[in-house]
């Protein structure tokens, strides 16, 4: 698989996820229309809303992601070393320099976002900047630039925004069921009403789970690929390996991260809460750090 097939794949999948998003929201609205007997009262606004947010998500996913993570733009004069480091690895990758952001959090982590290399941002926590040495930081930057170069950022950012929204909406739907004032004619709507109600609840429960699974299935191979192509830029696997080691062994959780943005980070920001048992392999957003490190060290 070359970088160009990766890029095409990411562009296609980005479009696909937007279509799925619109379809899923519209389907939910349709079901609730049927249950509540609103005609198309929810479907049409839902269709409009989801289309607008899918397109908006395409153009603004990076800004949304950066805003909910509390990231601040870094001026060149405030951190010339960091600028220089990013700029130089960009030369090696043949990429324009992305915008540089920081999150004020002492937990070490980093991510990249944007829709293409010309509209890309790279974001570091203040913790990663202070805890890693230059070589380790170079490894991390090269990893993130690889995500930018092969358009992982477009797909991941869109997925993050869409999944975040689906989760939010079905939460809201589900809650509206419990707190809805009971109407007199409800009992008379009969079996169909009950069936539709069950479907509605099932959908509302399943959709965030489904959305999570979509997101997880896609991010694990990406991290390994970005590790490998990052090392091609720095020619120094040990830098990234020891960076991953430091990030993973740091016990502090990253407060700015949430379930939707977690897969964007270089190392899973939720520490000390591994998912145990049957679902383990499904619910871990990142490949085990130990595995990544041993692959890097064998290079």
């Amino acid at each position: 698989m070359t970088i160009y097939t990766q890029i095409d794949e990411n562009k296609n999948k980005s479009l696909l996820i937007m279509v799925i998003f619109v379809a899923l929201i519209s389907l939910l609205a349709f079901v609730f229309d049927k249950v509540g007997g609103f005609g198309y009262g929810l479907l049409l606004p839902a269709l409009a809303f989801s289309t607008v947010s899918a397109v908006g998500g395409y153009f603004y996913s990076d800004k949304i992601v950066l805003a909910i993570s509390g990231a601040k733009l870094v001026a060149e004069k405030n951190n010339p070393e960091l600028y220089r480091l990013v700029e130089n690895i960009c030369i090696a990758a043949g990429l324009p320099k992305p915008k540089i952001y920081t999150i004020d959090d002492s937990a070490p982590n980093a991510f990249a976002t944007g829709r293409d290399p010309n509209h890309a941002s790279i974001c570091f926590t203040t913790g990663i900047l202070s805890k890693l040495n230059r070589l380790e930081l170079e490894g991390v930057v090269a990893h993130e630039l690889s995500h930018i170069k092969n358009y992982d950022i477009r797909f991941m950012s869109i997925v993050t925004v869409m999944v975040g929204m689906v989760t939010l909406l079905s939460d809201w739907y589900l809650r509206s069921f419990w707190y809805r004032p009971r109407r007199r004619d409800e009992k008379e709507s009969g079996n169909i009403g009950v069936v539709m109600l069950i479907i509605a609840i099932v959908l509302a429960v399943i959709s965030p789970v489904f959305a999570m699974l979509v997101q997880l299935a896609i991010s694990r191979k990406r991290e390994l690929l970005a590790d490998a192509s990052g090392v091609l830029l720095t020619r120094y696997p040990e830098g990234l390996a020891s960076a991953l080691e430091k990030i993973a062994s740091d016990k502090e959780p990253l407060e700015a991260a949430n379930r939707a943005t977690a897969p964007l980070y270089i190392v899973n920001p939720f520490k000390g809460e591994p998912f145990k048992g049957f679902l383990t392999s499904l619910l871990n957003t990142h490949p085990p750090v130990g595995e990544r490190i041993s692959i890097l060290r064998s290079m």
Binding site: N88, A92, N133, R134, L137, L233, R235
Partner: protein, 187 residues
């Protein structure tokens, strides 16, 4: 009749393939040329910075005069090779020697007592290591583009088109052996 159709379709397919392959070669070659210009930009910056550095270092330190004359000589050799359109291997050789000298100067200057009081020199040294890094990285990008282009024109059956249309392999910009050590400086 149907043979004619088949023949026309076959010819069309071959023409499309040749055109597509030709464009692929041109794209790859343009990438090589562009990335070479990127190296040249960094090399030019180094030529511009060197006289300044030599002057300042001479004033601030009592390092061996030989180092400075050697650097100045290498710099003019490098510029000469560039302007004479010397083959890449020759240019790379001079530039690599120059990089080696820069490393020596850096080590010597950093070991110099009360170097901290020479702000101007320190400033120049940090510019130098930035440029050295940029040269290394742009050379790496150039080499990866060359590798990509050379592979494309050597694969069968595209190589038939390449050799008929005069696409020749490009030369790598050789990296000095000690390069990797240089990247291992701490922050």
């Amino acid at each position: 009749m149907s043979y004619l159709v088949i023949l026309v379709v076959l010819i069309a397919v071959v023409i499309l393939y040749v055109l597509g392959t030709y464009n692929l070669f041109v794209t790859a070659k343009v990438r090589v040329q562009q990335s070479f210009r990127d190296i040249d930009i960094q090399l030019k910056k180094r030529y511009d910075l060197l006289p300044d550095l030599v002057e300042t270092a001479k004033k601030a330190t009592s390092l061996d005069e030989k180092i400075f004359t050697e650097v100045t000589r290498l710099r003019s050799d490098a510029i000469e090779a560039k302007e004479a359109g010397a083959p890449l291997s020759q240019r790379a050789d001079v530039e690599n020697k120059l990089s080696g000298m820069m490393r020596d100067i850096k080590v010597a200057v950093e070991a110099y007592p009360d170097i901290k009081s020479h702000g101007e020199l320190l400033d120049l040294m940090s510019k130098v290591s930035d440029i050295e890094e940029k040269i290394a990285y742009s050379r790496q990008f150039y080499n990866s583009n060359v590798a990509d282009y050379n592979t494309k024109i050597k694969l069968f059956p595209a190589m038939i088109i390449a050799s008929n249309m005069g696409f020749k392999g490009e030369e790598f910009f050789a990296a000095p052996e000690e390069e990797k050590k240089d990247i291992k400086v701490s922050f």
